[in-house]
Symmetry: C2
């Protein structure tokens, strides 16, 4: 299979949700969908949908369409949701706690196996069955469990230092929720969830509503 | 002032964090920074930084640079962080609770004034001083408090219906954390935080690590 780029993965994720919401739930027997239905839902060209389906090995049936269950299964295989991969989470604050407790991640194969925090007062507390550990345990836990994924919900000030430690310990994929712009080597994949960028946009549009002339 | 587009706002937010982390904290007297320093931190051209600074009314001093505190103040004014704007939050689950309890939003002017949930068992419970209200109260609360911003952390199934209700009640700006692809009229601003797209990318890269041949 040819490698998928970021945009292709993003489209596959939208198909995945769209199909589960619109087709499988409503029509549970043997749901079929056409490329134009999917295209319309996602504001894409039909030809893009057909290329994406071909890329993950889904064959359409002429005059019938795609089998919705097959599309979902192939997306799950292609993106690796059928594997089970452990992750460490650094920063057991409110957002970290919400992520650690979220059970929906299991559907995607993600299993947060260990939580860490720099705050001594949090060490030993438990979130959804995970005990918060001190940062000294970071490297041994990553190595012992062959962990490739690190999730960062720490303050900006410590984010780069912790990222460097994670990478040195063997982490190759990072999910960053801190506002920091982290620098990582080229062979490391990092996905930023910069919620504060959203906040800037919202605030600006509200300002425009309140002061249309400004 | 000319209107700012989404990309410009995104760059301003990165300047904002970068300056606070790198310059103001380290060098508290009268910190100055050059366009090339900022450009380097954000992997941009110097000329882009100078244009962005000019767009928000920051004047550089020849051979000295920009005053870091002035840049921060002008960004806050331009993006409307100096206003105070109320918001409603729909969906008092774990993520909704984390957002409702996050005190850092105040710095940006955002004030979550009311929480709503469809689950009768949650009604009357309190998160960080906000009592969870039933959805029947949604429209009166929005109208009474002149609220423009709605935050959605509800399941996909109900997201579109609730979005329609919010807009009908007067909401003009939406921050969507649900996986749903919501359709809104052209005059409504919506920002999606599609965490599940990130999840698809992470999972795919981990699959590649585990099965380099696939």
């Amino acid at each position: 299979m040819n490698p998928l780029n970021r945009q292709a993965i993003e489209r596959l994720m939208h198909y995945y949700y769209c199909i589960q919401e619109e087709f499988i739930n409503l029509n549970s027997d043997c749901p079929v969908l056409s490329s134009s239905q999917l295209a319309k839902h996602l504001a894409l060209d039909d030809s893009q949908v057909r290329k994406d389906m071909a890329a993950i090995g889904v064959k359409g049936h002429r005059h019938v369409g795609f089998d919705a269950n097959e599309v979902v299964d192939k997306i799950r295989q292609s993106l690796g949701f059928t594997q089970n991969y452990p992750a460490v989470l650094l920063g057991a604050g409110r957002l970290g706690g919400a992520l650690a407790a979220y059970e929906g991640f299991n559907t995607f194969g993600l299993d947060i196996v260990a939580l860490f925090d720099a705050d001594q007062r949090k060490i030993g507390l438990s979130i959804s069955g995970h005990i918060i550990q001190p940062l000294e345990q970071l490297e041994p836990v990553i190595k012992r469990n062959h962990i490739h994924l690190g999730i960062l919900t720490v303050p900006s000030e410590t984010a780069q230092e912790l990222t460097d430690r994670l990478i040195k310990a063997g982490i190759q994929v990072l999910w960053n929720f801190s506002p920091a712009r982290l620098s990582v080597p080229d062979n490391i994949f990092i996905r930023h969830e910069h919620l504060f960028v959203g906040l800037g946009q919202l605030s600006y549009y509200i300002k425009k509503i309140n002061n249309p002339e400004s």
